[in-house]
């Protein structure tokens, strides 16, 4: 199968099942990409960081990134188009034909079942990434990785700032601010003065 077709189908699948916005999409993209061996966790991590600190929907940013990685410009165009198509078609059908879609009892019931799964996916992915900061090889028991003490310090600093911001300003810290702070923390901590 040609790589273009494979990219298109993979992102079509991702676009069809990604409920819950950008964060709901991250676990699914990660799952699909890792199982195909298209990118590693580390690269995806960087991509997510860049996607979060550039404008636009996270899903579009990630699709463009991964598509370009796999097959250049046309790959990124295909991936972006594929991730958009399901949402576009479904909304068009709903807007043209169904008047009270969101208040339909079966739609509500399906969403009631999906939402907890999305929470599970996102929280699990987030926690696994936290653990992965400390142990790079947490899922390879033979090569039990060393504990990364630097990551713990950065975790404490960044987590403390995020929590402090939340307590003082009574709202969530903007993602881009959090990323900039953690980048600064990483640079300061690793560069020997």
């Amino acid at each position: 199968m040609s790589i273009y077709l494979e990219i298109f189908l993979a992102f079509l699948k991702i676009g069809t099942v990604s409920f819950g916005g950008g964060y709901g999409m991250i676990p699914i993209i990660r799952d699909e990409m890792l199982s195909r061996g298209w990118i590693t966790d580390d690269v995806l991590w960087n991509y997510i960081a860049i996607a979060e600190s550039t404008p636009g929907p996270i899903a579009i940013n990630l699709a463009t990134f991964v598509g370009n990685d796999l097959a250049g410009f046309w790959g990124s165009l295909l991936a972006t188009t594929a991730v958009v198509i399901p949402a576009f078609v479904i909304i068009l059908i709903i807007a043209a034909i169904f008047k009270n879609f969101a208040s339909n009892k079966y739609v509500k019931a399906a969403m009631k079942g999906v939402t907890p799964i999305i929470w599970g996916l996102i929280i699990s992915t987030g926690l696994l990434l936290v653990v992965k900061c400390f142990y790079a090889e947490y899922n390879d028991f033979d090569a039990a990785g060393e504990f990364n003490f630097h990551a713990l310090v950065i975790f404490a600093v960044v987590g403390g700032i995020a929590l402090g911001y939340r307590l003082i300003r009574k709202k969530k810290i903007p993602p881009i601010a959090l990323i900039l702070i953690s980048a600064a923390a990483g640079m300061i901590y690793y560069i020997p003065l």
Partner: protein, 277 residues
Amino acid sequence: MDNKDELSGKEVLFSDADKNGEPTEDTLSSCENASACKNKDKFKFSRPKRKDKPVLTPQQKKERFLRRAILSLKLFLCYLKIGLFTFGGGYAMIALLEREYVQKRKWISDAEFYEILAISESTPGPIAINSATFIGFKLIGVWGAFVAVVAVCIPSFSIILLISYFYDAFMAFIPVQYAFEGIKVGIAILITSAGVNMMKKAQKGAFEYFVFVPAFLLVTCFDIFNIDFSSVYLILIGICVGILYKLILDAINKRKSVVAVGLDTNASESESEKEEK
């Protein structure tokens, strides 16, 4: 003569009664009621009738074309702006959308906006794309939806494409590598807190926890033990579990209402709604 007249008069009366009499009206109204009851939980089809379309003169057609062209250009620019200035995903976009379309331009009403949000949340795909398609369609039809979606994708697509060309050179810098070591931690915190926040905001009952805990444990185990099981299936399972739960709840309620004959059906329905909540 009189008799005949009376007879004919009666006949006329009778035929009138047959035509516009009570029985037909009664059946009609009962039909309407029944269909209304039946359609209460079904989708309402709201397709505009083609027959009502007025015939346009070439002049009017030209005017309409121009109006639509200008509107689609406005839509395009507006969505380009929104795509360019929203950081941090779909939910950040919602506030901007409301300001732009509901308050400033008044293209859509408040009620329509909330309908769009509700639909975006219960359909797959990025919320930005969902809302762009919907608003574009409401304004100019399929073409409008297409224009809005393309416009909202262009900024992020071109920016990321540009970045990805410099990505390797950029990552070769040692300080940047250090920065990304720190960013890893930040992203991990960001994703976890996003998930926890979603959970905090939502209404939760026993059912939600009953689905959440196994899903969480399963995903974690799959990742730790390197088991290849796509999250796609988990989501499909979630949809099935939700609908199954609803069907079982309905069946139980139906049985209850059959047993309690004296109860009004409306009362039992509202009860079931309360139980759900």
